[in-house]
């Protein structure tokens, strides 16, 4: 009989988790000014690095140095991936900088297929820099333009806060499969940048809800930690192992962490009183 009672109590504990939740109303719009300003600095730093790294990367491509260009591909992308929710606000540039072959009807042969992945295709699939110079020039120009546009942009708070979840949605929907960097298999670098970018946003707004929602903070931090521990297993030199080294079990661990972060972070805007 005792068993029955405890089971009952415990079922209630679970049910309680599904009772109506109320978005926090305690966060005033002004409270967000500081975190947003800090995030703007984070974005600027990443853009600055992106411009410099892209210069070195595209120079190597144009110089015909396949090995150097290959080695710079993954690290160059990281500062783009970290701020992807903001970079994606300009869909024309996101398309020309970061689209994939299957975004285009004629795939790799499509003239609209440009940017990082077009160059990746040349370098890793064809092992050559042949005909890549125009793509390198275009990428450099696009990245420069992106930097200019974002510098002039006032960051919308809901886009910034929503970006934490948006990064996880991206990973969950189209990256966990290893389809992003399909020619170079350097997906784990992108993952790391996506997670860092999401965590940055979370960490900036964290003090605003730390007191009211400690359980949430602990859970989300725990899942970010789980991702870090899992990715750390694949660290190699300054970067990461190729994606095909990822075991099925670790892929499942990452997938579960991403899904859970996506679920939890989807409430972040509401918790901060944003629409």
């Amino acid at each position: 009989m005792k068993l029955k009672i405890t089971l009952s109590a415990s079922l209630f504990a679970i049910t309680a988790a599904f009772l109506p939740r109320v978005a926090s109303a305690e966060v005033a719009p002004l409270d967000l000014v500081g975190p947003i300003a800090d995030y703007k600095i984070y974005v600027s730093e990443n853009l600055e690095k992106l411009v410099a790294d892209t210069k070195a990367f595209t120079d190597a491509v144009k110089a015909g140095d396949v090995d150097k260009a290959k080695s710079l591909f993954a690290p160059t992308r990281m500062s783009y991936e970290a701020i992807e929710p903001i970079a994606e606000l300009f869909s024309d540039l996101d398309g020309s900088i970061d689209s994939r072959a299957d975004d285009h009807e004629k795939a790799e042969k499509d003239p609209e297929f440009t940017g990082f992945h077009r160059i990746e295709y040349g370098l890793f699939s064809e092992n050559s820099t042949k005909d890549l110079a125009p793509f390198a020039d275009k990428l450099m120009a696009d990245v420069t333009e992106l930097n200019k546009r974002i510098t002039e942009l006032t960051l919308p708070p809901e886009k910034v806060v929503g970006g934490a979840a948006a990064l996880m949605e991206e990973v969950a929907a189209t990256k966990i499969s290893g389809e992003e960097d399909r020619y170079s298999h350097t997906d784990l670098w992108d993952f790391k940048a996506n997670f860092d970018g999401s965590r940055k946003i979370f960490d900036l707004v964290r003090p605003l809800i730390e007191k009211s929602d400690g359980e949430f903070i602990t859970k989300v931090s725990g899942n970010f930690d789980k991702v870090d521990v899992t990715l750390a297993k694949y660290k190699k030199g300054d970067g990461y192992e190729l994606y095909d080294k990822l075991t099925d079990d670790d892929r499942a661990v990452l997938a579960a962490a991403v899904n859970t972060l996506a679920e939890d972070l989807s409430t972040l805007r509401g918790k901060l009183g944003l629409n």
Binding site: L3, K4, T6, L7, S8, A9, S10, L11, F12, A13, I14, T15, F18, L19, P20, R21, V22, A23, N223, D248, A252, V253, A255, A256, A257, N259, T260, A262, E263, S266, T267, R269, G270, K271, G273, L274, N275
Partner: protein
């Protein structure tokens, strides 16, 4: 044959020119009246949305429960490793299944937050005859030291049979959910609810949905077996699911050499069996019937006249009536000893899209249950290996699972007996 064509042409002409028989005219009039006032995008109507199955009992629902029109198998990778995590998994699953099978109103959240429910069935969830059946794969036990000694004796990783071309992305799994309801939308709603509520403990590996063609009720109240995508009735020789003694013998685990926690559970076999339907449709009727061993229209065995006539092979040792390698004869020899090899089939037909060669990706989502996996599916499949039907079918996925005993009542949860057997003290007790 010529006569049939004439009849068909006449009927078609009747409909086309609106000058048909009374029957045709009557039908047209009825549907016209019924449709009055209906709009193009009105939801189709069903009077079965309040049909409800119970999650509770000695056995789980969805096994001897009459199969509804829509079914799905979803296979998961389970992240829950510790006894505490597995307890949370089982309890949360049970709590979601309880809600989904009963139906009702999901909690309402602040509109600045994502809603608690996908809303695809509207603000009030109808039960719609939903059942969700939870089963565990061999890997669930193998990958948890504390469970390894508690694995059901016959649970193993499905091995490829001779004709199989298994796709690793459609095979096995730590946990399977069989989700069945009157409509596919109800199944999809249930799956999305479970995914949303257990993102940290389960990751979806593969799923296959299927359906069964619906028939009008018969005036005399009798039933007939549904057809598969080969156009044949599938399940005619199933043991009677209403015969509790027979189910105890063939379906529910009661063997003394099985763990006591597993009693009243059952072995679930899932097979995704592609059918080469274009080729099948280009095969002469007589050959189709010879391969299966039944008449296509009636479902009667050779030498019989009605579906449920029992074939008598003792008078046909050379296979003159029913070929020795006919599907139904290889599967069930109809002898005293073959009786123990009977399995409870509960399949659905699936249709997925188009192959690279431009052919239909269709087939059978085969699901069956048995108390003894070796005597059941494994033996039957071994008998079928090499059958002529193999030219038209290709198993591409599936797995073996153990269906947990049923939760006794609302204070219980699915999988409790396993956790208790492992020595786990239910620690997740918060008040």
């Amino acid at each position: 044959m010529g006569k049939d064509i004439d009849k068909f042409t006449t009927t078609r002409r009747s409909v086309l020119f609106g000058a048909g028989t009374a029957v045709v005219a009557g039908l047209t009039a009825a549907s016209a009246a019924q449709k009055q006032g209906e709009q193009v995008t009105d939801a189709p109507v069903s009077d079965k949305t309040q049909e409800r199955q119970s999650f509770y009992g000695v056995h789980q629902a969805g096994i001897v429960t009459p199969r509804p029109a829509a079914g799905m198998i979803a296979s998961f990778h389970v992240l829950a490793k510790t006894p505490e995590e597995v307890e949370r998994l089982f309890r949360t699953l049970s709590q979601r299944i309880d809600f989904l099978m009963k139906g009702g109103t999901p909690p309402e959240f602040d509109d600045k937050l994502p809603p608690s429910d996908s809303g695809i069935l509207g603000p009030v969830i109808p039960p719609d005859n939903l059942t969700i059946t939870v089963s565990l794969g061999s890997s669930f036990f193998d990958q948890r030291d504390w469970l390894i000694n508690h694995k059901p004796k016959q649970l193993s990783r499905m091995k490829a049979s001779r004709n199989d071309a298994l796709d690793a992305d459609l095979c096995h799994g730590d946990l399977s959910l069989q989700i069945c309801a009157n409509t596919p939308d109800t199944n999809i709603h249930a799956l999305r609810d479970i995914l949303k509520n257990l993102p940290d403990l389960m990751v979806l590996r593969w799923k296959q949905e299927g359906s069964v063609p619906v028939l009008p009720p018969k005036a005399d109240g009798t039933h007939e077996t549904a057809r598969n995508f080969l156009g044949f009735r599938d399940g005619t020789a199933n043991p009677d699911g209403n015969d509790a003694a027979l189910m105890d013998q063939l379906v529910w685990v009661r063997q003394s050499d099985e763990p006591s926690w597993a009693q009243a559970g059952t072995y679930q076999v899932v097979r995704i069996i592609r059918n080469f339907v274009e080729r099948w449709d280009r095969t002469p009727l007589a050959e189709q019937e010879a391969i299966i061993g039944r008449k296509k229209a009636s479902g009667a065995p050779f030498g019989g006249t009605a579906e449920f006539d029992v074939p008598d092979y003792s008078n046909d040792p050379e296979g003159k009536v029913t070929a020795l390698d006919a599907h139904i004869r290889l599967a069930n020899k109809r002898t005293k000893t073959s009786d123990e090899n009977r399995i409870l089939r509960r399949p659905f037909n699936y249709s997925n899209g188009v192959s690279k060669s431009g052919q239909l990706e269709q087939g059978l989502l085969f699901i069956c249950y048995q108390a003894d996996l070796e005597k059941g599916f494994i033996t039957v499949q071994r008998q079928l290996d090499g059958e002529p039907l193999e030219e038209y079918i290709k198993p591409i996925g599936g797995g073996f699972f153990f269906t947990l005993p049923g939760p006794a009542n609302e204070d219980d949860f699915v999988g409790r007996t396993l956790l208790e057997a492992s020595g786990h003290q239910m620690t997740r007790i918060k008040s």
